[in-house]
């Protein structure tokens, strides 16, 4: 399918929007009417046609605008992209993984021509046609990780694996849910997850680390995570909290449907072959409450999840103050009917709103 790229912004006038197609393929993160942490990993090898699971790296209508937004963030704050010296080989691994995947999965948009170590990369949406020498840093305008992640949606944490732990030793992080690469760089898995409530006590991180350490070449994994964002902001970083945090107070019963967004991360995990590092792409999808409510099943379920979420989680995810207003809005879309299991919209089989 040819993608029609949106002309939109994730700041100032917030002209971001989802087409009808984008709403239908939105990765709604709740497979049942309640939510608690779990190590909800599954294999990442395809999924239903046109779903965000179908390709190794999903490219959608927001691609060009998201890459423009990333360039703005990097120009203001270069520390959003960092790579410790021993991570350069992992950067080349990542460049290869993304170029090979995109050129195979979207041959109409991306081309990779390899002649030994001389590689030619064509990125049609961004108008790039570069020839370089694989594994020779001097032949690219940026380091390999920065070069390719300026052309790939989502954040990328590149984790070194040693001493039975994972280390946040490189990354490109401009679309994050309130965490900082500059703060976390060099930390291990337990250190960078220290702020998360409840999950440590449940042993979630010990099990998650064990799973991640054993992710092998050729067998990537994925999971969904979520939070809430007021206004379609990609860059909800601690560095810029003074700019976006205050916007949470601008919600009103009149504007909440358009302004309040469910923010979902499609997190994938790939073992990198040459470096034995692990790459953790974190792809952010935003959808306004009013667009979500066009899917009756999601309207019913989102109300129940937000209503029943433990206080600690609503606080950690930053919407405890706005929860009453959210519930006043969402309850209008919950008629009490049961919902079908799983995350998919089930538009053909789920009944329309009964009130």
């Amino acid at each position: 399918m040819t993608i029609q790229f949106n002309e939109e912004s994730f700041r100032d006038d917030y002209s971001f929007y989802n087409s009808e197609r984008a709403i239908k393929r939105f990765p709604f993160p709740f497979h049942e009417d309640s939510y608690m942490y779990s190590v909800n990993m599954e294999q990442h090898r395809g999924g239903p046609k046109d779903s965000v699971y179908e390709k190794r790296f999903d490219v959608d209508e927001h691609y060009i605008s998201e890459m423009r937004d990333r360039a703005i963030v990097l120009a203001e704050d270069p520390l959003r992209c960092q790579s410790l010296p021993h991570m350069t080989l992992a950067g080349w691994d990542l460049l290869e993984l993304i170029m090979v995947s995109k050129s195979e999965d979207y041959p109409d948009l991306f081309e990779l021509h390899r002649d030994g170590n001389t590689w030619r990369w064509i990125n049609k949406p961004l108008g790039i046609d570069d020839t370089f020498t694989f594994l020779d840093d001097a032949t690219l305008p940026y380091g390999p990780m920065e070069y390719i992640t300026r052309q790939a949606q989502g954040d990328f944490a590149v984790l070194d694996q040693r001493d039975d732990n994972l280390w946040m030793d490189a990354g490109m992080v401009t679309t994050q849910a309130d965490w900082s690469l500059d703060f976390d760089i060099g930390m291990n898995f337990f250190e960078w997850h220290a702020p998360v409530p409840l999950a440590h006590e449940k042993g979630i991180f010990v099990r998650a680390l064990k799973f991640l350490l054993n992710i092998q070449q050729g067998a990537p994994a994925r999971r969904l995570n979520w939070t809430m964002t007021v206004n379609p902001l990609l860059d909800t970083s601690p560095e810029n909290y003074h700019k976006w945090g205050i916007q949470k107070t601008t919600l009103t019963p009149e504007n909440i449907g358009a302004k309040q967004h469910l923010r979902v991360e499609l997190q994938t995990f790939f073992r990198l072959p040459r470096s034995n590092a692990l790459v953790f792409p974190i792809r952010c999808y935003l959808c306004s409450f009013q667009d979500l409510m066009t899917v009756p099943k999601w309207g019913r379920r989102l109300h129940r999840v937000v209503r029943d979420l433990p206080v600690e989680l609503a606080t950690y995810k930053g919407f405890i103050n706005n929860r009453p207003m959210m519930l006043d809005y969402l309850k209008n879309f919950d008629d009490g009917l049961p919902t079908s299991p799983g995350i998919w919209p089930d538009l053909e089989t789920e009944p329309p709103l009964q009130k």
Partner: protein, 320 residues
């Protein structure tokens, strides 16, 4: 399906290296390219020997960047359960085999300012790939390689001719011994030590380095244990509700698989921890042989690594 992803390959070359060691080359049967890998990685080779299927790990020794072929070296073990003998006597050029994707449990620490390799016997193989990887990026390394005799020194000639300044060879029969304390003492800050060889050598290096004040994180080691034969025993698998017998020459993991129960695994050599299994009930003695569980876990009677460990006694009930 447990274990790493599989690749269908064809045996394209078999080269006797010396009296004990034979090298095998694999290419993809579909003519495509193999995945690149990182130095230190191994592949698990499936051996179909009549009714018995063995899956043995072997270090990849070829250039990690060479996607046309993988090579491994197999040392014949006349006392073992037959995996290496099968490779030496039953496998011919042109045979179709199945191997796993590369898995690395013995990775280089790329932060190291210098890599100090200590090899014993067939333990040289992962270093051959790591050396090729480091050479490509001008890495700083040094090899100390102990062999029983000159004639059993696999790849000694190749190493000493290509890397005369980095390679140091020691022959046991000439009473040549690595002067480890002195060697460790002379290393620059930021050196990482890697040891691969017999159990005794690994213990010697780890203990000597610890006594000399080296940080634990700077000492890397890999020893694949081949499962050892032992007395047959019976096991009840509680989840799948089956009673199985483990034969003298098969591992507990192989017996579980033979019963059609899909159990997780990766290295099959007691190192990776994937096959860790909870014990529900037992009356008897465990013969723990893995590197994964610590002494307290071994003593607790609550866990077993079925890839290499066995049991002697009346009752063993596993959560599988």
């Amino acid at each position: 399906m447990s274990g790493a992803e599989k690749i269908a390959v064809t045996v394209t070359d078999i080269v006797p290296v010396n009296e004990l060691v034979t090298r095998f080359e694999f290419k993809r049967s579909d003519g495509g390219l193999l995945p690149t890998f990182s130095g230190g990685a191994h592949t698990v080779v499936e051996m179909r020997d009549g009714d018995i299927t063995r899956l043995n790990p072997y270090s990849l020794m070829s250039d990690p960047m060479d996607q046309t072929a993988y090579t491994i070296s197999v040392r014949r073990d006349d006392q073992g359960r037959g995996g290496s003998l099968f490779m030496h006597t039953k496998i011919a050029i042109g045979d179709e085999m199945v191997i796993s994707y590369p898995v690395n449990l013995f990775s280089l620490d790329l932060r190291a300012k210098k890599h100090l390799f200590l090899a014993g016997g067939i333990g040289i193989t992962p270093f051959l790939a790591q050396i090729k990887q480091l050479e490509r990026f001008n890495g700083h390394w040094e090899l100390h390689y102990a062999c029983r005799t000159q004639s059993l020194g696999s790849y000694v000639d190749e190493l000493t001719s290509q890397h005369p300044n980095e390679t140091h060879i020691y022959y046991d029969d000439q009473k040549q011994v690595i002067d480890l304390v002195r060697l460790l003492d002379g290393q620059p800050l930021g050196t990482h030590v890697y040891v691969c060889g017999p159990k005794g050598m690994i213990e010697w290096v780890r203990q000597t380095a610890a006594a000399e004040g080296w940080p634990r994180e700077a000492i890397h080691y890999e020893e694949f244990l081949a499962p050892q034969p032992g007395k047959p025993f019976e096991v009840k698998l509680a989840v799948s509700n089956k009673v199985i017998s483990v034969g003298e020459h098969e591992s507990l993991l192989e017996a579980i698989e033979r019963a059609g129960v899909d159990a997780p695994y990766l290295c099959r050599g007691g190192a990776c921890g994937q096959c860790e299994t909870n014990v529900i009930d037992y009356s008897g003695t465990f013969i723990h042989r893995d590197h994964w569980l610590d002494d307290a876990e071994h003593a607790s009677g609550q866990k077993i690594m079925p890839c290499v460990s066995r049991f002697e006694g009346k009752t063993l009930v596993l959560d599988r």
